[in-house]
Amino acid sequence: MKPLHALGISAAAGAVALLAAGALAAGLRRQAAAHSHELPPYVPPAVVVQLAPGELQARGKKLYFNNCAHCHGVDAHGDEGPDLHDLWVSDRYIATMVKRGRKGEMPTFAKKLNDADVAALIAYVRTLN
C-alpha cells in the first residue's frame, strides 16, 4: 500500500479511536449521573422551604459570589472549575459535591455552608439552566 494512502486510513483509525473513547466517556458520565439519582431524593431543609423562590435564589447568588465564583467564574461559565450552566446532575449530587468536595479538585464546604446555604446555592445554580 502507498504510504500516503495508508496515512489517510491510519488517520481515520486514530479519529475512530478518539471517538470511541469519547463515546465510552459519555456513557460512563451518563451512568454516573443516573446512579446519583438512585440515591434517596434530595430534601431541602425546612427553613428553606419557607422562603419564596426569589429570596432563595438571591441568597444563593450571594453565597455563590462569596464562595464559588473564584473558581467557577463570576458568570459561572467556568474558570479553574467547570462551567455550571445546564447541569444534568441531580440536586443531591450537587449538594454532596459542595459538602464533600473532590480530592485534588474542589475543596469541601461542609464546615462553611450549612444545609440551608447549600439548598440556596442549588436554587441559584438551577437558574443558570
Binding site: 466517556a25 456513557g27 460512563l28 458520565r29 480530592k103 485534588g104 479538585e105
Partner: protein
C-alpha cells in the same frame, strides 16, 4: 468491590504500552541511524511490532482510566494536564501503529525519517502523560 480497583487496573495496564512505545522509538531511531547495515531490517521489524503491541496495550489502559474517572476526559489540575497529553498520544499511537502495519517495509528513507520524527514526538507525549500521572499519585496517594 475495592473502591481503588480501577485505579489499580489503570496502574497495572499503563506501564506496558509506555515501555513498548519507548522500545519502538529506540528500535526505529537505531534502524534509521544504521539504515545501510544488515541489522536495520530487524530493527525496523522490531520497531513496527513494538508500536503495534503498544497500541493494542493502550486500549485497556485508556478504558481503565476512563472508568476510574467516571468518563471525565479532561478534568482539572493535574488530571487536566495528564489528559491534555494522553489524548494526542493515544491518537498518534493508533495512527503510527496502523500506518506501520499497512506500509510494512515499503517505505522510502524520507518517509521513514518522518515516521521516526512522529514516534519521537509520541514518546515525548507519552513521557509527559506519565509525568502528570505520577503527579496525580502525589495528589491522590
Amino acid at each position: 468491590m475495592d473502591p481503588a480497583f480501577w485505579a489499580k487496573v489503570h496502574g497495572a495496564t499503563t506501564h506496558f504500552p509506555i515501555a513498548m512505545t519507548f522500545v519502538a522509538c529506540l528500535c526505529d531511531t537505531a534502524a534509521l541511524c544504521f539504515w545501510q547495515k544488515p541489522a536495520a531490517g530487524g530493527l525496523r521489524a522490531a520497531g513496527r511490532y513494538a508500536a503495534i503491541i503498544a497500541a493494542l496495550g493502550s486500549i485497556p489502559a485508556v478504558i481503565s482510566g476512563l472508568v476510574m474517572t467516571r468518563g471525565d476526559m479532561l478534568g482539572h489540575g493535574e488530571l487536566r494536564w495528564h489528559h491534555l497529553f494522553v489524548w494526542p498520544a493515544f491518537a498518534l499511537l493508533v495512527v503510527a501503529a496502523v500506518w506501520r502495519s499497512l506500509v510494512r517495509d515499503q517505505i522510502s528513507r524520507r518517509g521513514y525519517v518522518g515516521y521516526v520524527g512522529a514516534i519521537c514526538l509520541l514518546t515525548a507525549l507519552i513521557a509527559a502523560t506519565g509525568y502528570w500521572g505520577g503527579e496525580l499519585l502525589q495528589t491522590f496517594p
